[in-house]
Symmetry: none
Subunit: 209 residues, 4 copies
Amino acid sequence: MGTLQRKVRERRARRQAIQAAAVQVFGDKGYSRATMEDVARQAELSVGTIYLYYRSKEELYVSLLFESMQRFREGIEKIMATGLSPDRQLKRVWDYFYAYHLRYPQSYRVLLFLQQPGLPAGLSPKTLQEINVRAARNFSLVSRIVAAAMAKGIYRSHEPREVVDLLWSLFLGLVHPAETRQNLGITISTLRDLHRKAFRWLEDGLRVK
Amino acid sequence: MGTLQRKVRERRARRQAIQAAAVQVFGDKGYSRATMEDVARQAELSVGTIYLYYRSKEELYVSLLFESMQRFREGIEKIMATGLSPDRQLKRVWDYFYAYHLRYPQSYRVLLFLQQPGLPAGLSPKTLQEINVRAARNFSLVSRIVAAAMAKGIYRSHEPREVVDLLWSLFLGLVHPAETRQNLGITISTLRDLHRKAFRWLEDGLRVK
Amino acid sequence: MGTLQRKVRERRARRQAIQAAAVQVFGDKGYSRATMEDVARQAELSVGTIYLYYRSKEELYVSLLFESMQRFREGIEKIMATGLSPDRQLKRVWDYFYAYHLRYPQSYRVLLFLQQPGLPAGLSPKTLQEINVRAARNFSLVSRIVAAAMAKGIYRSHEPREVVDLLWSLFLGLVHPAETRQNLGITISTLRDLHRKAFRWLEDGLRVK
Amino acid sequence: MGTLQRKVRERRARRQAIQAAAVQVFGDKGYSRATMEDVARQAELSVGTIYLYYRSKEELYVSLLFESMQRFREGIEKIMATGLSPDRQLKRVWDYFYAYHLRYPQSYRVLLFLQQPGLPAGLSPKTLQEINVRAARNFSLVSRIVAAAMAKGIYRSHEPREVVDLLWSLFLGLVHPAETRQNLGITISTLRDLHRKAFRWLEDGLRVK
DNA sequence: TATGAATGAGTGTTCATTCAT
DNA sequence: GATGAATGAACACTCATTCAT
């Protein structure tokens, strides 16, 4: 006994090793241009083995997506557990977005695939539903911080979910062009600056003065 | 007489018909998943015919990109020609972004492909350079509006280009999640609202009070 | 009246113009890599027009072949009409081969296509038969010169046709490697020398001493 | 144990099976008209599998070429190792040419593709260079035999390389028309005879009398 | 008669997925 | 479980041939 547990543990470890490899490859080449062969090579496994753990390329991708979302979620929860004031928590979340993108650029990129037009055509409705639910979960987590700030009279009253949408929008929007310009061969050093200013501006509009 | 002119006119018309079809297909399926066969079917032409007008799939895509950029540019120029005060011009540009995305959603999506990781690997350096130049041209157009507003003391002094980056970021960010959620099968009706509020907030931070 | 004659004359002229263009193109690129578009461009005509004069790419190629053979034939006949002694005539023919290949390299190359494996697959039996007959005609012309030299006791007695085969073989063999090396990027200047020596050697074996 | 070795052995066997199929197909249809599908069908494999062993059609063709050259080389080396007198060695080489062409007609034909005009356009400079080097290697091997015969006073003094060129030329020339006539649907039985006579003639011119 | 735009079958090549070992 | 050789359906692109003008 305990054998089963070991089996499960090993299986999970394998899956994570494959995911780690896949994040690199998908992040580098994009979903379409990445091949299962690439992933296998990166993971130092054979193609066949990948298929023992993931039914298809798509499923592998989706698992990465869930992984990223999960990591985000955990980061936010940790911030919420600090007991800081809501506005400082929000600032931390904002910074966490930035740090995440910097620390796990490939993982961040995986999130972006969702925005590719035509992607849903390849994903099953059930999968889409699941993605949806998980995304909503993360959003509502941040919403709770914003709502708290409003309840405490730190921020003016708004629909908290709208504020979160805006924040996330701004963040995506800030990073995207930076990525694009990287695509175009230009590096941008002012992203960090821009990122800070953007928050200050936006939060300024929120605060009760 | 006039035969040559007719030829030229017809050729241009054909190219536009192909572009129209391509925008649909690329917009729906994305660059990688779209096939030349798809485009041909949509245009009610044969594959070979497409290649009479565009040398490659890439060239076809790039032509769409340039078309979009050009249209953006013209929209902005028209606004600048109105002689309105710079801050009202900026508001109009902001609204124009929104209207454009609403009116030509597929064309707008074409712009987004640039942000796909791994895309540049498929484009020639020369093409990337050209894209770059054209993008910069559009950005500097809006920058001039912002700079004018600062010169007139309407806005506080900032680096105009940074402000434009921020605006564009916010816009992209606002639309992206909306698109994503559309991907996920949810329609969002509050985008218009959010779009208006976002501008008010951001501009508020800019204005000299 | 006379109109018909003019028509015929013009048609022949067109055909020749097309042939001239085709020889260039086929000679440069080889049969497979040459396109009808290439030929049309070279002839400053439209593709459609070519098809008014030749039913297919193959037929065009065959017409070039016949043209080359005819030219060879005429050259040999001219030499035979000089009334020179048969051995001097043979020397002249040998030199003519060389001169022809130098003067009309493209036309010469067209002759070589016959040796491409797989070519017959594309040619109709009737065409093959016709090519055959014409080739034989040229060979027998030279055979008559050799036979005359034997009859006059200048050369030892052999099967004349075999001798001609050998001569032609040697010639082809001499030029081919030169072409090959040109293919490989090396130019050979000694071909002319080799060509002269080869004849002297071979003829030496033929002469009654 | 031995697994790796078996793998290597099997891989080599597969490659050879594909080569065998390719020689048939290329020999029959020529380089351009042969398709990878043809090769796959002949090898009783799928197209994809061919590409597991050869990167491209060109590489497959070049491998056949090198194979042929190598086989030629080995044949010549075996003759040189006999210790026979140089003139008898040369006779053997000459016979070997003939035997080779008879035994491996398709393989022989593969060598001829090099002479197709326009072929080099499809081959990379690096490949051409390599072909060049290997061809030269084979030629210089035979040159050494001829040079030895001259050194021993059996043959008159000439540039050995020129003599070899001539021999090879003659051989090619002899076989080509035979091939051509086969193309044209005629079989020739006198080739063997012609082949013998041609050598006698040529060598006669070489010998010190 | 001349045009050249349109066609569509065909080509080399890639890659997600399967399966015998 | 693990492997990686094999598969075959796609895909981008070409080009001989046709036909409306």
